[in-house]
């Protein structure tokens, strides 16, 4: 049985951290479920946003770090704009995602691609200053092994000139590199 007396105390620090990062106060949540009810992806989640709030309220926030939901969340902010308690729900999901990375949580297999894409994307921007879309798609294929996925879509796009074959590199690449490094320095080299 869950000893709430213990969990609430033990999890307070984590909850505070998430509150701080998301600039919000989840203790205000009264569990009405508007966030989950309006979430376009709730049906695919293991734990809905409302339950994530409850986990944080009861000191079980770290459980949420294992949830698929935080990776499924599309940060569409529907929950945030509808929340009657002015909680930045999407921000909490985002903060949890960052925490999960920072703490090296295993990302559930089903959603691992999200992380791969993020890394590829940020890597691409770091190298070129802008996004190289074709490179991104190809990178995804290489990293996920789904070599043939969406081939049908890529070729017409190439033909229509929508995907350029070479990345565009901006002049200020060194500046971008510096930005990345500075951020890393300030955030404690978590990446």
């Amino acid at each position: 049985m869950l000893n709430l007396q213990a969990t609430i105390g033990a999890g307070r620090e984590f909850t505070d951290e998430i509150n701080h990062e998301a600039g919000t106060d989840i203790n205000r949540c009264y569990q009405c479920g508007t966030c989950s009810g309006g979430c376009p992806l709730f049906y695919a989640m293991d734990i809905g946003p409302r339950q994530v709030m409850r986990l944080l309220q009861t000191g079980l926030g770290e459980e949420a770090l294992r949830a698929r939901s935080i990776w499924i969340c599309a940060t569409c902010d529907t929950c945030t704009v509808r929340c009657p308690r002015e909680i930045n729900v999407a921000g909490v999901m985002e903060a949890l995602r960052i925490q999960a990375r920072r703490r090296g949580y295993r990302i559930p297999a089903a959603v691992r691609k999200v992380r791969i894409l993020t890394d590829l994307f940020l890597g691409s921007v770091r190298r070129s200053g802008r996004i190289f879309e074709l490179g991104l798609v190809q990178g995804m294929k290489m990293r996920t092994g789904e070599l043939l996925k969406d081939v049908g879509m890529g070729i017409p796009m190439l033909l229509k000139g929508k995907l350029s074959l070479r990345p565009h590199r901006i002049r200020g690449r060194a500046e971008i590199e510096r930005i990345y490094r500075k951020v890393q320095e300030m955030e404690g080299g978590s990446r």
């Binding site: 599309a74 529907t78 509808r82 993020t118 929508k162 990446r191």
Partner: protein, 289 residues
């Protein structure tokens, strides 16, 4: 009227037709766009979901350059608009953050520039009367559903374009262009574009729901201002249709493309050939091209 132009990565790639039509329409409406020199990626969703600082720093670099130009920024891409705005608001609210970002990007940023989506530029700086006055081919008889998606309207306070639940500004512009707008319930439902590559299945579900609602309200095409929404609704349409055992055939166009037609720009210059669901048969049927 002169504005700093931030096209963003998509408009240089998958959303080329948005870029082309934006430039043409702006020219036609007397909006002078000066591309921000050596602009860089705004970080899209990836930056802020993995690092709060990077999520502000990447857009801030572009804002700082625009500030040097002394111009407000026009950002047609919904994601870019969202990110630039968010960075701006966050730095406005948090003086310390601004200082840190200045240090990171090694540029001065004073928070003087505004960031406007292109639709807002047309609405508030050009005015609908001017649009009406320059119509050549009013979009009469074309039933459209304006789809706003998430990034343009949410969350309030970070972006300030329109009502998050019932936005109407794209509708107003397209109505001014002579179009017939359907009133529908899924204008701002998320299409899941950020999951397009990573959670394709989910994405297809969301696309299906949205298209279904638009079709039911009698829309013949969808207009949007977001490259991700456009790509997603267009490219995932076939899959969604298959899954729902139906056939939508709903072209998904940038509002600038249709506005371009209405303003009498040659159809060939608006990139109408680059969509998966070809809009041209519909437009021909309506006598617009």
């Amino acid at each position: 009227m002169k504005l700093a132009y931030y096209p963003g990565c998509s408009l240089c790639g998958t959303a080329r037709e948005y870029n082309i039509s934006t430039i043409k329409v702006s020219e036609k409406l007397g909006i002078e766009l000066e591309e921000i020199p050596d602009w860089s990626c705004c970080g899209a969703t990836s930056a802020h979901t993995s690092s709060p600082l990077l999520g502000v720093a990447l857009p801030a670099r572009n804002l700082a350059i625009a500030e040097e130009m002394g111009l407000d920024v026009a950002a047609p891409c919904a994601a870019c608009y969202h990110n630039l705005s968010a960075a701006r608001v966050k730095m406005d609210r948090d003086h310390l953050l601004r200082k840190r970002i200045e240090e990171i990007i090694d540029r001065k940023y004073r928070g003087k520039v505004k960031v406007l989506p292109l639709a807002e530029v047309i609405l508030s700086r050009v005015g609908l009367d001017a649009v009406r006055d320059s119509l050549v081919h009013p979009l009469a008889g074309l039933k459209m559903a304006a789809y706003y998606g998430c990034l343009m309207v949410r969350p309030k306070g970070i972006v300030d374009f329109d009502d998050p639940e019932n936005p109407t500004k794209l509708d107003q512009i397209m109505e001014a262009a002579g179009g017939e707008m359907v009133d529908w319930s899924h204008k701002t439902e998320c299409c899941g574009a950020s999951l397009s590559l990573t959670g394709t299945e989910l994405c297809v579900d969301l696309v299906g729901r949205i298209l279904e609602r638009a079709a039911e309200e009698g829309a013949e095409c969808i207009v949007t201002a977001c490259p991700f929404c456009q790509a997603n609704l267009d490219m995932r349409q076939a899959e969604a249709a298959t899954k729902l055992k139906t056939d939508f055939r709903l072209p998904v166009l940038y509002f600038t493309q249709l506005l371009g037609i209405a303003l009498g720009l040659p159809a060939g210059e608006l990139g109408l050939d680059s969509h998966v669901v070809d809009p041209r048969p519909l437009l021909r049927e309506k006598g617009l091209i």
